[in-house]
């Protein structure tokens, strides 16, 4: 069977399930599964927000409420068609989320979470007090969903609509995660330095994910209002928001399937608890909340990935150790040709009197330096000489305290990292920064982020396939180029450290840089691997790239570099051809403490 036919069958089965399942279900379960579906929608957004992008919101129920009240007011009081209710509801929810995201975007993660607690309370209080919304008396007789002459009076039809929405949003979320934007979203979770170095606009992206999660909640709110046909503030309270978060943690934040599993477990068990606990203890109360919270605490302590991995016992794809060690190819493949047009001998980077202080410590003092096309410049010096600080200044991670920097002839000393990346400056890190659970190929493809244009929505609709194929082909080509053609599917974290550095080099090359900054790329490599890296760097030089290299392996540096810059205590103490620098007495003193 062809993959397409297979996929068609799966889709047909899901559609049949959604149509037949509500028709067959007893009345009581129609309501219960309706709630499970609605909760799944909200939880899906939270998986993207919390599990993938590493942000958290304790305010999702407010977004459900905003959309629910919007559609209620429009369809009941203004007799608008359902579709208008949906559009306005999502508009209100999205705009609110966007504004809230704007306010908190630049703060680190827990501020967003804390702020969400407070708007969770504020919106709940507003729903309960605004006269228009009838407070806790609620609004009843909400018109059913209707399109033209068709009206979904029956709850069973609504149930089908809800689960169709679940299926569609699951598919869209899966598509998103399997795309250029999906890879970018993963870097938001604790890997922002990677994101900056490949040109991802992290502030905008984290806001976008936040808005997506809110819109999922908004869709749930819209459906909720027309399913229940009655709304009051209670289901939009802070504790409802926290419930959604608990569902995601119980199901598993790491996977989209965690959403339906968590939602089903919490909604169904809560229903059972409400039946049984008063019978056992003889009193009603917050007992089920107590039990769920205790479960959540245990899960956070023992199984932070949630129940899903425990239930499924998913075997992780792991390459056997010896295969990883032996996997790298031996040859560097030939150059695919110059990456960007380069004028031979043109200045790429110029630093003039750059200084950087950390409090009283001068990490860089008055450093001047230039890198041209077709040139490998090595930056050497004892530990603590300020080499990495200089790298961070060139890549925009740190602003210089004083001095000027020019990139490709234009002033660049106040540009943010991602703009510098967009100009064509790529880097690797001294302490390797990769997404350890993602494959080598995905990690390398991150470097090609800027060559893609497809946004979030088009990715979710799978309109990015042509571009995605091109990006992955580019990533594969760079992987082959550094000798990693056989290790594309291995999780990057499973590679030995030295090879992880080479993955970083491939990721940097995906940027098609004009200037490449390598921070100790040969550390941890074996001799043969070092030779291969040297061959690659020579090839890049021949293609017109400029390379600035920090390295402690002197044999490696001296055989490769056109020019060597020596730093000590934050200052440049020597510069010149390798053999001249090697015989410089000042350099010898810095390295060996003086010639006796």
């Amino acid at each position: 069977m062809t993959p397409n036919a297979k996929r068609g069958l799966v889709v047909a089965a899901i559609v049949a399930g959604i149509v037949l399942f509500p028709a067959w279900l007893p009345e009581f379960y129609v309501t219960l599964f309706g709630y499970v579906g609605l909760a799944t929608l909200v939880a899906l957004g939270l998986v993207l927000l919390t599990g993938v992008s590493g942000q958290t919101s304790f305010g999702q129920a407010s977004f459900v409420g905003l959309a629910a009240y919007a559609t209620t007011l429009l369809t009941k009081l203004a007799d608008a068609p359902s579709i208008v209710g949906l559009a306005v509801g999502l508009g209100v929810t999205g705009t609110t989320a966007w504004l809230l995201g704007l306010v908190t975007a630049r703060l680190s993660g827990h501020f967003l979470a804390l702020a969400s607690v407070s708007w969770g309370i504020s919106f709940y209080a507003l729903f309960g007090t605004l006269p228009l919304l009838h407070g806790f008396n609620g609004i009843g007789d909400i018109p059913p969903l209707h399109v033209g002459p068709f009206s979904a009076e029956s709850r069973r039809v609504n149930l089908g609509v809800i689960w169709a929405a679940v299926a569609i949003l699951m598919a869209m979320s899966a598509a998103l995660l399997d795309s250029r934007m999906g890879r970018a979203i993963r870097t938001l979770n604790g890997a922002r330095l990677i994101a900056d170095s490949v040109g991802i606009d992290t502030a905008r992206l984290s806001r976008a994910v936040f808005v997506i999660a809110a819109l999922y909640a908004g869709i749930a709110g819209f459906l909720f209002a027309h399913f229940q046909r009655f709304i009051s503030p209670t289901p939009f309270s802070l504790s409802a928001s926290i419930d959604y978060l608990f569902m995601v943690i119980i199901g598993g934040v790491g996977s989209l399937w965690g959403a339906p599993i968590g939602a089903a477990l919490v909604v169904v068990l809560r229903d059972q608890f409400n039946d049984w606990i008063p019978r056992i203890t003889g009193r009603a109360g917050d007992f089920e909340a107590l039990v769920f919270s205790a479960v959540v605490i245990l899960l956070l302590q023992r199984a932070p990935e949630g129940l899903l991995p425990l239930l499924a016992r998913l075997p992780r794809r792991r390459a056997p150790r010896n295969e990883v060690m032996a996997g790298a190819d031996d040859e560097v493949s030939p150059s695919p040709g110059p990456a960007r047009s380069a004028v031979p001998g043109a200045e790429l980077l110029a630093l003039e009197s750059i200084s950087r202080n950390f409090g009283g410590l001068a990490a860089n003092r008055d450093v001047s330096l230039a890198v041209h096309t077709n040139e490998i410049v090595a930056l050497i010096g004892p530990n603590g000489a300020g080499k990495t600080t200089l790298f961070n200044i060139v890549t925009g991670v740190l602003p210089p305290s004083s001095g000027q920097m020019r990139l490709f002839g234009a002033p660049a000393d106040r540009l943010p990292s991602r703009r510098i990346a967009a100009l064509g400056v790529a880097r690797t890190f001294q302490h390797v920064k990769l997404l350890p659970n993602r494959s080598v190929l995905e990690n390398i493809a991150l470097g090609a982020h800027l060559s893609g244009r497809t946004g979030l929505l088009r990715s979710m609709l799978r309109l990015d396939r042509a571009e995605e194929a091109k990006l992955l082909a580019e990533a594969r080509a760079q992987a082959v180029r550094v000798g990693f053609g056989r290790l594309l599917d291995v999780p990057a974290g499973d590679l030995p450290l030295g090879q992880q550095r080479v993955v970083e080099v491939a990721r940097a090359l995906c940027l098609r840089p004009r200037l490449l900054l390598l921070d100790e790329p040969a550390a941890g490599l074996r001799l043969a691997e070092k030779q291969r890296l040297a061959t690659l760097l020579r090839q890049l030089r021949a293609d017109g790239m400029g390379v600035l290299l920090v390295e402690h392996d002197m044999d490696f540096v001296m055989q490769l570099a056109d020019r060597v810059v020596v730093m000590d205590f934050g200052q440049k103490i020597a510069e010149g051809a390798p053999e001249i620098v090697q015989s410089d007495p000042v350099v010898q003193e810095a390295y060996l403490g003086g010639v006796a």
Partner: protein, 339 residues
């Protein structure tokens, strides 16, 4: 509004502001040492009020049995940790709870306010280190967000227990003093003054603790560089327990103070704790003086808000966060990598 009403509201606002300040300090201590955002602090506050109220009514509070149960678990756990740990465990988790239980059994029927208050402090304060020991320490290195979610879950556990222990009714803590003074048009209640005096004493005491004692310096070291402190031989578990202990003591104290002014029910602590949060966030979760200013501002705004637009009181307080977050976000440079 005339001057009299305004002054009365102001007095109210400053009193509750002082309580928020105490909670903000507790949050800041715990957050800076352990990175835990201690949501359940507000619930411990309610425990403080309700425990003191129950004792004053001549009954034994459920929190006492909770203390005994948790302490017994900690005692058993400490027996497996070598001789010194076992000895310490027996002293702290064996002798102490026994002494408190005996004192409560013996003294509760006498219904003396000062004794009820002291016993409530003695019962609720150890909850902090016990919570740290069993809930947070097993995942002390997890991301801030995971710790925050755990704190939220713990909040629900505590209010669930609160309902079991105390039922749904509100209760008051015994007042420290019934005195009141007339200052011109304004009647100043002695309890308000007592709140302010306790608050000031606590702030001064903490200042001394952090600058002059070895334990205080250990906490400061752990707060400024956790890894560095650990490398210098500072026990992260012990400094966490100390931080949680301070926070729960502060919560219990705040509970017996505010509980004499306002009756509280088992689930009332969360809102109060959140307002302490708002104050702490104003200090950026770092600065104590800013948090103090924030706490007083929250208290006064809430008090004035309840007069002008009582239905929107909560909305006003929590919406206040938005401009503060805007300001914080403009002030902070590039977003840090999330640890």
């Amino acid at each position: 509004m005339d001057l009299f009403v305004f002054l009365a509201l102001l007095q109210d606002g400053i009193t509750t502001g002082a309580i928020y300040l105490l909670l903000a300090i507790g949050l800041l201590i715990v957050f800076s040492v352990t990175r835990v955002i201690f949501v359940p602090q507000g619930d411990l506050l309610a425990f403080g009020t309700l425990t003191a109220g129950t004792l004053q009514a001549g009954h034994l509070p459920g929190t006492l049995w909770l203390l005994d149960a948790l302490a017994a678990m900690a005692l058993v756990a400490s027996l497996f940790g070598g001789r010194t740990a076992a000895l310490r465990g027996v002293l702290i988790w064996g002798v102490y709870p026994l002494a408190v239980t005996a004192a409560a059994l013996f003294l509760a029927p006498r219904q003396m306010p000062a004794i009820s208050i002291l016993l409530a402090l003695a019962i609720v304060t150890p909850m902090g280190p016990l919570i740290w020991r069993f809930a947070f320490r097993p995942i002390a290195d997890a991301p801030v967000l995971a710790l925050l979610i755990l704190a939220m879950a713990l909040h629900f556990v505590l209010i669930g227990l609160g309902l079991v222990f105390f039922g749904p009714e509100e209760a008051t803590a015994p007042a420290l003093t019934d005195a009141s003074f007339d200052l011109g048009v304004l009647n100043v209640s002695g309890q308000s003054l007592a709140v302010l005096v306790c608050c000031a004493a606590l702030v001064i005491g903490l200042r001394w603790f952090f600058s002059a004692t070895i334990h205080g310096k250990v906490l400061r070291a752990a707060a400024s560089d956790r890894l560095g402190a650990r490398l210098m031989g500072i026990d992260a578990g012990a400094s966490g327990a100390l931080a949680f202990g301070l926070a729960s003591f502060i919560a219990a104290l705040a509970g017996v103070l505010i509980g004499a002014v306002t009756p509280l029910s088992y689930d009332a602590g969360f809102d109060i704790g959140l307002k302490g949060f708002v104050a702490a966030i104003m200090g950026g979760l770092i600065s104590y003086p800013m948090a103090a200013a924030g706490a007083l501002l929250v208290g006064v705004l809430e008090s004035l808000g309840s007069f002008w637009a009582s239905a929107y009181r909560e909305v006003i307080v929590f919406t206040l966060l938005i401009p503060i977050l805007v300001w914080l976000s403009l002030r902070s440079g590039s977003p840090e990598d999330r640890a």
